[in-house]
Symmetry: C2
Subunit: 146 residues, 2 copies
DNA sequence: ACTTAATATATCGTATTGCGATATATTGAC
DNA sequence: GTCAATATATCGCAATACGATATATTAAGT
């Protein structure tokens, strides 16, 4: 297992992190300005962006956000309290809670998503460059590059 | 300001988040297995990947991690306690603290960076696709695509 | 040189948030 | 019909970042 790493590798990894952090930072700030903590914004997006036949539930949301189900429970509790999400017992399986966005959530998410698209279009070229660089710097590639 | 957004836009944004979250989740888990909280791992990477003439300091680290200087102070405090970083007063400006990685940190970071490179090479194609898709779906582009 | 402002780091208390452990309700398996 | 599995919920805890503030050092203005 070649774990030889050049200074350039570390630099590229650090730059990738820096770029990702800037995006996360932008995103969290934008959400805060809408009055939403970053995690709540991402939950709304996960609900809105979900394509599937069954309705969105706590468990599905947990999967999409990579958090524990009971953490999703708490997150949804906050969203319901703040008026962004409705939670209703699923008649087909009363263990499940079906989730839907309120108009308030749709409005906030529309604004947030619009500026996120703009920001992503700004960031994407740099990000793609960094990813491509990291892909190309294979540690063990043939001695004579084509 | 056209904030018309299609279902596909929301889906693409949600998928991008999901992919970023998977990377962050992978990264945090890998760091934990090395005995490092994710933030500490990223601090080590920021120090190691930093290219500059002046030595790394608390303030520079804060800039690279996009955290408040006093948060960087706390983070470095934990890293020093755990034996990953040395902190010394800079003789040129005694307000500054110069930071250096210990051998322990270099070892852990080498292992972590190696598996991160592997993971990134896995993830990069999907990420590049998602970013490209988001770039191309300009809401207001010319009516007749070339 | 002396006073004042700016910079760099540090400390303390607080708030957010996610998790582990655990509990309850509902459904499915046999 | 009983028992295991699933889905959600609750509680206490730990980690971490921040705001407010403090101290030390350097720079700027005169």
């Amino acid at each position: 297992m070649s774990d030889f790493l050049s200074d350039a590798d570390y630099e590229a990894l650090a730059n990738l992190r820096f770029t990702l952090r800037r995006f996360m930072d932008f995103s969290t700030s934008a959400a805060q300005e809408e009055g939403l903590p970053g995690q709540q914004h991402q939950a709304l997006l996960a609900i809105r962006g979900y394509r599937g036949d069954d309705p969105m539930t706590i468990g599905l949301l947990a999967e999409r956000l990579l958090i524990a189900p009971h953490t999703a429970t708490e997150l949804v509790g906050r969203l319901v309290s703040a008026g962004y999400v409705t939670r209703r017992s699923d008649p087909r399986d009363k263990r499940r809670q079906t989730l839907e966005l309120t108009g308030k959530a749709e409005d906030a998410l529309r604004r947030l998503s619009a500026i996120h698209l703009t920001e992503i279009r700004d960031l994407a070229p740099r990000l793609i460059d960094l990813l491509t660089e990291l892909q190309d710097n294979e540690p063990q590639r043939r001695k004579v590059p084509a």
